[in-house]
């Protein structure tokens, strides 16, 4: 979350899309209710509390609470997998109706940046892709479009001569303009000024004409403009071309949304572009579990930047994490591509990653000389402009502090302030395991299935139910030599050897044929152990142990330290193991308290003192920090702030409760909160909050309120500089053009891999005359023979959770009270579909996809309806995925239906959109 749960209470419009908090985050609905009930005095748009919009294929328990506005309930449905079309259409509405917050967009975003003259979006290429596409001819191409990757060099900003201190042209022009003359001094009374500069192409002071004007007026010279200026366009000009293609007809035909409902959603949410109004977007797995999941979020972010909703109270894009500590597990690098604190993971397939750092200290600054490839060079962005903070320029401090934390004795001195040598850094760096390229969940199970992975440590995970294409993943488990699994119960994964891949009980001869040696370790549940957990608001909240774990069950800290000591005793004694700060040899016990580890995570110096904030971490081996994001949670006064519980705050402040526990980073509750102030010039701030009733930061001779983002003093006070609040970006500005994405800098609609438009053979979003790039061109297709075809599988399917069960069900299908509430796996379908298939409410049905089948009980409901997609009527169903073959209540796992295909950036599986068929049995 950019904001916090409590802060949702000040929203004027809340849009839930790709999530269902009433069912999956029921406590969160309290904060939504606060907004609807006007608890914090937000008058909303009509003086009567916030409005709730729900966008979902299915009318959910959240949708039942959608507001009525303009005489209509603000629920709008969309076909699974069409979020980008829907939200790009909203963006188009905001642009066409000029509902954006113009000063915000001009100052805080990169709308005004010039792009490389070779950059082309799908509006210009004519093929549905962006410029720089390199098709991979070895990839299977199932007639749904090309697969490959991008050479992203053309996606960059336009530059002056590389090596110039401010080599980025757009920024330089802009700051010249603001700093040098404020109002244009071209001498022609041209009228350009910071007040008249406009995003409206009809305006004589249109941003897109700005550069040509400066050139014509001789304020900048053609020599300063590399390449062909005529082809260079600003981000904003590219956006106009890109989003205009998402006109209402295209959106309605793709999404199947109700046209008037869609209009009202656009109009209502766009009203939050007004200064002082705030809209928030709440999302969850319905957004992310698509081949375009990351771009779905990009679309939301783009909309929120245009409306000026980022950094303000009641705004933001707010991911509702699926369980109490998903945020924490992500922060601590549960994911394969990062180390704790979102530090880039060294990769054995990247040649330069063999070396830690071969550069001089100028790394991180613009104009750095050509330097040999190294890990540090790859992961450290350089600062594009001298005013910007470029926070990731500090990368080396964080990674060296992490290495010191891991291998305290091997780096510098254990007790003195002696810096580490370059040789030590390189040696210790080699001990960090290097990934062999992509190691996402799907890739791991593909490798396991191919016999390349022999062993599995499974902690708190149940891939036999939760993994995509779970039949295939159960087959993969059978090929393991050994598996160690830590669980509360013997779940489906632990018991895979007793059951066939479709859940049937095996005979003893069949069980004997499975050669995997399995160790089931009894784990302690959350109330049986202590430690902080991190919620969606990024709050680290210490949780105390309530009861002792039963029997032999122990908590993970003890379990992992025992495992470490056992591995060492068994001969695992390379340097990385020998020097690791772990186990009884380090702590004096295998059971160090959570509090001790919290100090380690926070950061300590070699002299034993605590580090109180991450700017004080060093890159020389004299500070250690297990996760730089958490530096400051355990400050020098020795109080573990994750145990703090103070629920009071300053009057007039947005309801963020800064003294309740502690939030990363540096207790900042709303990220990019400098943008809650009206801007001055190219990214600088004033002392005027957009919304003075819910201030986030404010100026009283110094900054008050939430911990600010390193913004400079406001305009009119000493120390003012024009520095944009988006400090994690090396250009300092919010990215409407995001060149870091795999499949393009703007969200473009691509169909799910299982697409009902396959027969059409053409992506309807205009890009020249009809183009065949139906699917995301950057995904990896593992199973080209398992792609669903609408001829055989005409029905659109999705999966979801309910309040009553949790994730893969191991924790809830063993609890009788919860099984009583929701005993059976059900499939929800419309009355039309049920009628056409002769299915009655409560009947047993079988659902099939190209991957497999499952059986469920039918729930026939008017909460699903038929979608009209380009004139064709399409049925849509939804299946619960919590069930498996263990527990009190058993049922087929819905992930048997799901393909091994993932998002192009993250490889999160595409569980939320597939093609299927359904029959009564």
């Amino acid at each position: 979350m950019t904001n916090t749960w409590t802060d949702i209470g000040t929203s004027d419009v809340i849009m839930i899309i790709g999530g269902n908090p009433a069912e999956n985050h029921p406590m969160a609905f309290r904060h939504i209710t606060n907004a609807l009930e006007n608890k914090y005095g937000n008058t909303g748009l009509d003086g009567n509390g916030a409005k709730l919009i729900v966008v979902d294929p299915r009318y959910t328990r959240s949708a039942s609470k959608a507001s009525v506005w303009n005489g209509r309930q603000m629920y709008c449905r969309l076909r699974s997998g069409t979020d980008i079309a829907f939200v790009d259409g909203m963006i188009n509405y905001v642009i066409q109706h000029k509902k954006y917050n113009q000063p915000y967009v001009l100052s805080y975003s990169n709308a005004g940046f010039l792009l490389n003259e070779n950059f082309k979006g799908p509006a210009e290429t004519g093929n549905g892709r962006f410029s720089g596409f390199i098709p991979d001819l070895t990839q299977p191409v199932p007639s749904l479009g090309q697969i490959g990757k991008y050479d992203k060099s053309s996606w960059d900003y336009a530059r002056y001569v590389p090596g110039h201190v401010n080599e980025y042209k757009a920024l330089n022009i802009a700051t010249d303009f603001w700093d040098g003359f404020g109002d244009c001094t071209c001498g022609t009374s041209c009228g350009f000024s910071k007040d008249t500069l406009s995003l409206d192409p009809q305006s004589p002071y249109y941003l897109g004409k700005f550069r040509q004007h400066l050139l014509a007026a001789g304020i900048i010279t053609s020599a300063e403009v590399a390449g062909d200026p005529a082809n260079q366009k600003t981000v904003w000009e590219h956006m106009l071309l890109h989003y205009a293609r998402y006109d209402k007809d295209t959106v309605i035909n793709l999404t199947g949304a109700d046209p008037s409902g869609y209009d009202d959603v656009c109009a209502l949410f766009a009203m939050t572009g007004e200064a002082g109004k705030a809209g928030t977007i709440l999302y969850a797995m319905g957004t992310t579990q698509h081949t375009v999941g990351t771009q779905n979020i990009r679309a939301y972010s783009t909309l929120q930047i245009l409306l000026g909703n980022m950094g303000v109270s009641g705004g933001g894009i707010n991911a509702q994490r699926g369980e109490s500590n998903v945020q924490g597990s992500t922060d601590f690098a549960l994911l394969f591509h990062i180390l704790p604190g979102y530090l880039g993971q060294p990769d054995a397939t990247v040649p330069g990653d063999a070396w830690f750092d071969l550069t001089d200290p100028a790394i991180g600054e613009p104009g750095h000389p050509a330097q040999p490839a190294s890990y540090i060079k790859r992961v450290t962005p350089f600062r594009m402009h001298q005013n910007e903070l470029n926070w990731w320029g500090n990368f080396k401090k964080y990674i060296v502090s992490l290495m010191k934390c891991y291998w305290w004795n091997a780096l510098g001195s254990p007790t003195a302030a002696d810096p580490a040598t370059a040789e030590q850094l390189q040696a210790v760096y080699t001990w960090i395991p290097k990934i062999p390229g992509n190691c996402s969940h799907i890739q791991l199970f593909e490798d396991m299935h191919a016999g390349k992975i022999k062993g599995l440590l499974a902690f708190g995970t149940n891939p036999a139910v939760g993994g995509p294409n779970s039949v295939k993943e159960r087959e993969a488990l059978q090929k393991l030599d050994w598996m160690v699994i830590s669980e509360l119960w013997e779940n489906e994964t632990a018991a895979f050897w007793q059951y066939g891949t479709t859940g049937q009980k095996l005979t003893s001869a069949e069980m004997a044929a499975i050669d995997t040696e399995i160790f089931l370790l009894p784990a302690a549940a959350h109330m049986e152990k202590e430690g902080f957990v991190v919620n969606s608001s990024r709050w680290a909240q210490f949780r105390y142990k309530a009861v002792e774990p039963p029997g032999d069950a122990i908590h993970e800290i003890l379990m992992v330290n025992l495992l470490f000591d056992a591995c060492k005793a068994a001969g695992a004694n390379d340097y990385g193991m020998t020097f690791l700060t772990m186990g009884a040899g380090w702590y004096g016990t295998c059971d160090p308290s959570a509090d001790i580890l919290d100090r380690e995570i926070n950061g300590v110096r070699t002299n034993g003192t605590l580090v109180d904030k991450f700017p004080n971490l060093l890159d020389n081996g004299t500070t250690a920090s297990g996760n730089w994001l958490y530096c400051g949670m355990y400050p020098t006064d020795g109080s573990n702030l994750s145990k703090r519980r103070i629920n009071t705050q300053a009057a007039g402040m947005a309801p963020v409760y800064p003294l309740w526990t502690w939030a990363w980073p540096v207790n900042r509750r709303i990220i990019y909160n400098g943008a809650s102030l009206e801007p001055c010039g190219w990214g600088g701030v004033t002392d005027r909050p957009w919304d003075s009733a819910h201030k986030v930061v404010w100026w009283e001779g110094s900054w008050k309120g939430d911990v600010n983002d390193g913004i400079a003093n406001p305009h009119g006070y000493g120390g003012h500089i024009e520095r944009s609040p988006f400090i994690m970006r090396n250009e300092g500005h919010a990215r409407l053009h995001g060149a870091g994405m795999a499949e393009g800098p703007y969200p473009e609609h691509y169909e799910p891999l299982d697409t009902p438009l396959a027969a059409r053979g053409e992506n309807p979003v205009p890009s020249g005359a009809g183009h065949s790039q139906l699917i995301n061109p950057c995904i990896k297709i593992y199973e080209p023979d398992k792609v669903g075809n609408p001829m055989n599988y005409p029905i659109i399917g999705t999966t979801y959770r309910v309040s009553e069960h949790w994730q893969a069900g191991a924790a809830t299908r063993h609890l009788p009270w919860l099984c009583e509430l929701f005993p059976d796996v059900i499939v929800e379908m419309s009355m039309d579909l049920a009628l056409s298939k002769g299915i009655n409410n409560g009947d047993r049905v079988q659902i099939t996809t190209m991957r497999g089948y499952m059986q469920a009980r039918a729930l026939v409901t008017n909460r699903f309806n038929t979608f009209r997609i380009y004139g064709e009527m399409r049925h849509h169903i939804g299946v619960l995925w919590h069930w498996g073959y263990k527990g009190i209540k058993k049922g087929h796992s819905a992930n048997r239906l799901i393909s091994h295909v993932g998002d192009a950036n993250t490889r999160i599986p595409e569980s939320k959109a597939f093609l299927c068929n359904i029959e009564k049995i």
């Binding site: 009567n48 009318y59 099984c819 509430l821 909460r863």
Partner: protein, 245 residues
């Protein structure tokens, strides 16, 4: 004598069913072995029983068709003893075993030591809401968590909206579990005032044109479970508000 009541605000209920589980947990009731019975929405069990005192009922209505008309009517209502001020169950029991009484806060209770379900069951048959359910030992129903009140309660609830946060002040378990404030507990006059302000709120009226208060004055002399209903009482098969004995 304290005059207490529980508010059931159906306009705020999201049917998370935390109340249903909290009731089982506090009252130490076993689970029923259920299966999907083909009912509306996700409701389970099908009805109250001697081991289920609280049940969130799901209702669908509205015609199939457009988004607005077809979807606007997924209704939820927490269901359990209404704690009538003039309870008919007590009326019929008074002529039999006199096992039913009102506790000091006015909630209706059954004395399990006196009740003889094998011989009687008059209260089950006589309850206009179909609440009390017998087993071989007694007849069972919601007690408004009598064992959470008494000595441990009557502390003042500082902020009834946050009653679920205020640890030591034990409100009925269902109320303490409710995340949205759909369930609240307090002085009956305060609860009725809250219900009225809710039912008169223009945004609530816009969303639920039939919104009405049930249990403030009638039926049966008023109820201690005061509901803000999203549909008319007949929709839930409730007696009309003017019903008397």
């Amino acid at each position: 004598m304290p005059d207490k009541a529980i508010l059931v605000d159906a306009t705020k209920c999201t049917a998370c069913r935390g109340c249903q589980v909290a009731c089982k947990q506090w009252n130490d009731l076993p689970a029923e072995d259920t299966s999907f019975f083909g009912g509306p929405g996700y409701q389970n069990p099908k009805d109250l029983s001697s081991i289920t005192y609280t049940l969130v009922r799901f209702f669908w209505s509205g015609k199939k068709g457009t988004d607005v008309d077809g979807y606007g009517n997924w209704q939820f209502l927490k269901y359990g003893c209404m704690h009538c001020k003039n309870p008919r169950c007590k009326l019929v029991c008074d002529s039999m075993y006199k096992a039913i009484y009102k506790d000091e806060d006015g909630f209706v209770q059954i004395n399990q030591n006196i009740c003889k379900p094998a011989l009687c069951n008059a209260c089950s048959a006589g309850c206009p809401f179909g609440i009390p359910k017998p087993d071989t030992q007694s007849v069972w129903k919601c007690t408004a968590c009598i064992n959470r009140r008494g000595d441990t309660y009557p502390q003042t609830i500082k902020d009834p909206d946050s009653a679920w946060l205020n640890g030591p002040e034990l409100v009925p378990a269902c109320v303490s579990a409710c995340p949205t404030g759909a369930l609240q507990y307090g002085d009956r006059s305060v609860i009725i005032a809250k219900a009225k302000s809710r039912a008169n709120d223009p945004k609530v009226k816009a969303k639920f044109p039939e919104v009405n208060i049930y249990g403030d004055t009638g039926p049966f002399g008023g109820l201690r479970v005061v509901s803000v209903l999203t549909r008319k009482p007949g929709f839930y098969a409730f007696p009309s508000k003017s019903a008397m004995y």
